[in-house]
Amino acid sequence: MTESPRVTDVESLLRTPLHDLHVSLGARMVPFAGYSMPVQYPTGILAEHRHTRTAAGLFDVAHMGQVTLRGPDVHRRLETLVPADVQGIAPGAVRYSQLTDEQGGILDDLMISNAGDHVVAVVNASRKHADVAHMKAGLPGIAVELAEDRALLALQGPGSAAVMARLAPPAAALAFMTFTACPVAGIPCGVSRSGYTGEDGFEISVPADRAVALAERLLAEPEVRPIGLGARDSLRLEAGLCLYGHDIDTTTTPVEAGLAWSIQARRRREGGFPGAAVIQRQLAEGPPRRRVGLRPEGSAPAREGTEILDAAGNAIGRVTSGGFGPTVSAPVAMGYVAAAAAAPGTPVQLVVRGQARPARVVALPFVPHRYKRS
């Protein structure tokens, strides 16, 4: 299991362009993926979580990797590393996919944007250098470039569309999983309608030296408040979205992780990506285990690593993410269980602090997605 590098020497931590802004806003900074990031602001995680679900929250995700791939036939070439139909991505559209290994395991998950003559991939902070090396090795002749001069902000929540309509009118026209180049409050940006909270929202790529100006402008809007990593995790968990290094890694396949929807028909048929044999077999015969949602019956949250037993007490898997769901206002968790026990409604037990407590397998997400599809 790939963990975020444990950095103890705070001084050696990297900083995003917004670091000083976070500090000035009273954020509690913690190490994450080698960066010093805000885990919460004075209002606290619960308030931040609820604010994002009801208004609009601003997230600093500048630590993530924005990778540009440029070169002859880049769309088709990229398909040799990911199971998604990259050639089928319309210009201006975005698709979710994974970098897989020969066993069908997941090296990282990523967003792929078709910018016409080139492709932009957004990858996880903890994996970005490994991913770039992997792509360079796998795609000779394709220029793979990790943008060092750009920051990434996410504006998420039902109020975000109104904010963008004021500051970036053209972005108001975007459908879910599409992007456009568009000034935001006069600052040239790349804007996509996507996110990591299950809410309507936007992800904004901005030149690093304008990031603070943009963040301050966005925070000046009545709907917008800054949101830290804590709420980001509870929001994505309720939305049933995977966190790399926890819910997915090289030991899990896209099929086991319930991400088969991100493998389009042509690729299922034709294969041609790392681990295709494993994945195609799992698609045909079904995987041995599946990622599921779990609802503990009591009020005790089940944390990552919690053992999952079936009704008879046999170990059938482990919790990969878990905690209290502020919107569900109950504990929620995700984990892998044997395929036989994956059906929603299946009673299971979670071993919390040495004691087996009753829980139920439930369908994901815990909170319905509110994306703006066309």
């Binding site: 053209p170 026209a173 975007l174 066309s374």
Partner: protein, 496 residues
């Protein structure tokens, strides 16, 4: 007189039809393949009589014609109630962008998201500036907007089973106001003005009852004055269940500083070709969106723009709308230009527009108060009004002053309007004129005032203009024996 009839750079130019060479063309098109047509025997056999010219001839023809026009690019256009301001060329560029200028109005929605978002953004700016909840974008010009506004009002009244028959209009109103009300089937009654050049509230009260559908009021009014009792007027109209229609022709005076919604307006058209700088083009096209109150919004004509699923969408069919007043969605080309202008100014710049336009007008009035007679005591708003008392006994008329101004290199101001002031001269400098230009204009006006009182002034003034491409034209003969088209000298097959 020159041998050619030309006067230096001022060329005499014959009509296109007088340069015709049959068979000649200025466009090279591929040769048709020929063969059987599918016109069911309706093909035309006789020529239409269109003239044949090559491209250089056409380009020169229209270039020479253009040189016989006055234009805001060339000089000040102090036309009262017309707001002839600078037309930024950025607006022209963005209106022609591929993906905007080449959109068909009936493309599938998914292929025109940006266009609809643009219209929605324009609507947001207009409603915010007016403090009104909704706007109907489709009207093609100010008068079309008035028609739209009054139809909306009548639809709203009929929806509550309230057939009203009368519309009240001040004497000083634009002619379009009564003409529009009549076109909507209403009887028009005019309200006198007070000595202060404002609507006579007492007279208004006297006419108000349950049969009044609407009061139409321009504010600032056509005398260039702000109707300081406008809120009371609105209250009175609302009291009897009528609506308050605002004519937005003079919005330039208050944009960013006063919101019509705060004055009690229920509907008001906005001339994008005035306040928001879309070019007047020698008489159009314009664009006249109508902002609407909560009560009227549901009845707005099609199409509507509504936000659904977080995105603005075009609604082309809807039961409550009173109908449709044109083929498609509105003057998109003008929306783009107006929005580019608004975004260039921003909230701060637009406020400055109102302030500078009012400052310029008051500056001109103050500078000329001893040479011409201001019709009303100041301050004025964006335009200042003089009457012709100062010309008494000179034999020189308001028209003479206007024509003489042409020889001084300026376009005349609006004259004989509003009708409530004798020999009116209505001057609207707009905010895009520099102090230097205003001073030159003031100097010219002072000189004309002085000359008007000299010996034999009348004859000299009646002769003006003498330096324009044409002297005064005989409008009487034009109207008595109308010649409204060119006809070939010898009747040919082309002529009916």
């Amino acid at each position: 007189m020159t041998a050619t009839g030309h006067r230096g750079l001022d060329h005499e130019e014959p009509l296109l039809f007088e340069q015709d060479e049959p068979g000649r063309t200025g466009v090279d098109l591929p040769a048709p393949k020929g063969g059987q047509d599918r016109l069911g025997g309706r093909a035309r056999t006789r020529p239409l009589g269109l003239p044949g010219l090559a491209e250089p001839q056409v380009v020169r023809h229209f270039t020479r014609l253009s040189q016989r026009n006055y234009a805001i690019d060339a000089g000040m256009y102090p036309l009262g109630s017309c707001t002839m301001k600078h037309n930024p060329r950025l607006n022209e560029r963005v209106a022609r962008l591929p993906g905007l200028g080449d959109l068909h109005p009936l493309q599938p929605a998914k292929t025109v998201r940006g266009a609809v978002a643009l219209m929605h953004t324009l609507a947001h700016w207009l409603t915010t500036l007016c403090g009104m909840p909704a706007v109907a974008l489709s009207p093609a010009a100010g008068a079309h907007g008035e028609l739209c506004g009054l139809m909306t009002i009548r639809a709203a009244l009929e929806a509550r089973g309230d057939a009203r028959k009368r519309v009240l209009v001040p004497e000083s109103a634009h002619g379009t106001n009564p003409a529009t009300a009549a076109q909507c089937g209403y009887a028009i009654e005019s309200i006198p003005a007070t000595a202060r050049g404002r609507v006579d509230l007492a007279a208004l009260k006297a006419k108000l009852d349950g049969s009044v559908a609407a009061l139409m009021l321009t504010n600032p009014n056509t005398c260039g004055l702000f109707e300081d009792e406008v809120q009371e007027a609105a209250r009175l109209v609302h009291q009897v269940g009528g609506f308050f229609y605002g004519d937005g022709a003079n919005f330039n005076a208050i944009v960013g500083r006063v919101r019509p919604g705060d004055l009690g307006v229920d509907a008001m058209h906005i001339n994008l070709h005035k306040t928001f700088s879309t070019p007047h083009g020698g008489g159009g096209p314009g664009s006249g969106p109508v902002v609407l109150s909560e009560a009227l919004a549901p009845f707005a004509p099609l199409p509507h723009i509504v936000v659904r699923d977080g995105r603005p969408r075009l609604v082309e069919h809807d039961g409550k709308a009173f109908g449709r007043i044109r083929a498609f969605h509105g003057q998109m080309g003008m929306f783009i230009r107006a929005l580019a202008y608004m975004m260039s100014h921003g909230a701060d710049g637009l406020r400055q527009v109102a302030e500078d336009s009012v400052l310029n007008a008051n500056y001109v009035m103050a500078a000329l108060k001893d040479d011409f007679t201001p019709a009303f005591p100041g301050p004025c708003m964006h335009e200042c009004l003089f009457d012709d008392r100062s010309l008494k006994d000179t034999g020189v008329t308001t028209l003479d002053i206007a024509k003489a101004l042409i020889d001084e290199g300026f376009h005349p101001m609006t004259i004989y309007f509003p009708l409530v002031v004798h020999g009116a001269l209505l001057v609207e400098p707009t905010e895009t004129e520099s102090k230097a230009t205003l001073d030159e204009f003031i100097g010219a006006m002072k000189a004309l005032a002085r000359r008007a009182h000299e010996e034999g002034a009348a004859e000299r003034f009646h002769a003006a203009p003498t330096l324009a491409p044409r002297r005064r034209l005989d409008e009487t003969t034009a109207a008595r024996k109308p010649v409204l088209r060119w006809r070939p000298a010898t009747p040919s097959a082309a002529a009916e």
